[in-house]
């Protein structure tokens, strides 16, 4: 009996020490937490592509801030900013960003980088979308042939872009049988589209990362409507005194700094043979896409 008790006590001690270690992790970050922690709300594509895994350690080392990256859709990221639950945003949803700024939720919106969206579909291409000259035309053909289309449906930057293309094409796909919403992230939506042999819109970075397992072809690319522009926005501290304004500014400045921009331009070349993002700091928004 004694031995059994001993075993039980040892187990309790192990669990307790575990608990203490974990709670012990916190104080080091909690010391002056308001100054140290920067909450970055961003889109899944910046995390899933692996870009942030490279940039954030450099930023942390340089400045001593601790970045808490919360990867959600652009829509949710801006909602977090609106409530003062994030200090700085890295998002790609131009229309929504402009609205966000107009409502006084953010300040100092700056271009960081861009890549592009692509229209993907099964190689057999029942809608003959590959023959189209523009993204609008491709979407029209998909709608006309009533081919299955997978939408993110999550208010992300990609979803917003997709809606704007439908609008430009003069089609309202909402409620149509061939138009389905996954409500998932880009990677998972691509998997669903591949399994169902459906069309979808995706950012090039996520597509390249997943390409080998998908079996979806690029059917349309290259027009200005498909531009995917990432901006960094500092959340406006006037509304929320608890924000880490200094940390947000440091991060935003870091993203547009010369060295960082160089890193962004090189990112992905090694793995995919071509860069995933093109640095844009200091450029005018209107000038993008005009080669």
């Amino acid at each position: 009996m004694k031995k059994k008790n001993l075993l039980f006590i040892t187990l309790c001690a192990v669990v307790l020490s575990l608990a203490l270690t974990v709670s012990g992790i916190n104080p080091c970050h909690a010391v002056g937490a308001q100054q140290k922690n920067v909450i970055l709300a961003t889109t899944t594509s910046t995390q899933d592509s692996g870009l942030l895994d490279i940039l954030i350690p450099i930023f942390e080392k340089k400045t001593g801030y601790f970045v808490k990256t919360i990867a959600v859709g652009s829509g949710q990221a801006m909602a977090m900013g609106q409530k003062g639950e994030a200090d700085v945003l890295l998002v790609h949803s131009q229309e929504a960003e402009k609205k966000f700024m107009a409502e006084g939720n953010g300040m100092n919106r700056r271009l960081v980088m861009h890549n592009d969206f692509i229209i993907l579909g099964p190689p057999v291409d029942p809608a003959t979308a590959k023959m189209s000259k523009s993204s609008m035309e491709a979407f029209k053909k998909i709608a006309l042939s009533r081919s299955l289309f997978m939408s993110r449906g999550d208010n992300s930057g990609t979803h917003a872009k997709e809606k704007s293309i439908w609008k430009a094409a003069g089609i309202n796909p909402e409620g149509q049988k061939w138009y389905q919403q996954t409500g998932l992230g880009m990677g998972q939506t691509l998997s669903v589209a591949a399994e169902k042999k459906a069309y979808t819109l995706a950012d090039r970075g996520t597509y390249l990362a997943l390409k080998k397992t998908l079996g979806l072809d690029i059917l349309n690319e290259g027009d200005t409507l498909l531009l995917n522009v990432y901006s960094v926005i500092q959340v406006n501290p006037a509304k929320f005194p608890k924000l880490n304004t200094a940390g947000a500014k440091a991060f935003a400045d870091f993203m547009v700094a010369k060295d960082t921009q160089k890193l962004i331009g090189k990112f992905g070349i090694e793995k995919f043979g071509s860069p995933l993002f093109f640095p844009d700091a200091g450029k005018k928004e209107e000038a993008l896409g005009k080669k």
Binding site: T21, V22, S23, N26, D53, I56, K68
Partner: protein, 232 residues
């Protein structure tokens, strides 16, 4: 099929090369869920025993509530814990959202009703005369409760396993209140979700296998204790 084999291969290579990131994630999962289970044991066993032993009006409703709580959806817990811990929420001043502490809190909330419900059933299941017998032998009330718990240790250890199993495998609440921050709040389940999203299926499978191994080892240890102490 190749994918699964690749995943298994990756799991062992990650384990045997002692990949520091994977080890860190594994350790954090164990520590966070262990701590949450421990908290839920304190609350769950004491309240569960009390409700089982004390008669009071509305007892059935309370028991129904506890039993419903055993199926508490983790995402709902995650949502409410987030709302409470937001900077501008009622407990925002604590500044613990997106920390391991926040995950422990959420997981403890998920595990507590599980432990409580099983404890309740275990204590209620003991023969009624046992209490009278123990008290008649001159035990104090506290000693009686202790003896009853010892008598019910088999199902109580099952409660520990159910509670731990519930939280170590949980992903919804952990990702909401922890944020899946690299090297800080990334646990096995949230890492698996992220790697799946990234298309790194081999790593995702590897993390899944590590999670299963971890759950198995903890449960094997607990089962060992449970079966050793089985009354003959």
């Amino acid at each position: 099929m190749d994918l699964i084999l690749e995943g298994i291969q990756k799991a062992f290579s990650l384990l045997f090369t002692l990949d520091p990131e994977v080890l860190g994630i594994t350790w954090l999962s164990l520590a966070v869920s262990g701590a949450a289970t421990l908290i839920s044991l304190f609350i769950g066993i004491s309240i569960g025993t009390a409700v089982a032993l004390v008669e009071f009006p509305g007892k059935r409703i309370v028991i129904s509530l506890i039993n419903t709580g055993m199926g508490l959806p983790p995402v709902v817990v995650g949502l409410f814990v987030s709302i409470f811990l937001w900077r501008n929420g009622p407990f925002g001043f604590l500044e613990i959202l997106y920390t391991p502490t926040a995950i422990i809190i959420a997981q403890a909330i998920i595990a507590t009703p599980i432990v409580m419900g099983i404890t309740l059933a275990a204590i209620q299941h003991l023969p009624k005369n046992l209490r009278l017998q123990i008290l008649a032998l001159g035990a104090t009330r506290l000693q009686m409760v202790w003896l009853l718990m010892k008598e019910a240790r088999l199902p109580l250890l099952a409660a520990v396993m159910a509670g731990f199993g519930g939280v170590i495998s949980e992903v919804g609440a952990s990702i909401m209140v922890g944020g899946n921050i690299k090297g800080y709040t990334r646990v096995l389940t949230t890492a698996t979700v992220m790697e799946t999203g990234k298309g790194n299926f081999d790593v995702a499978i590897a993390l899944g296998i590590i999670l299963l191994l971890l759950a198995f080892m903890v449960n094997a240890l607990l089962t060992q204790i449970q079966q050793k102490q089985r009354p003959r």
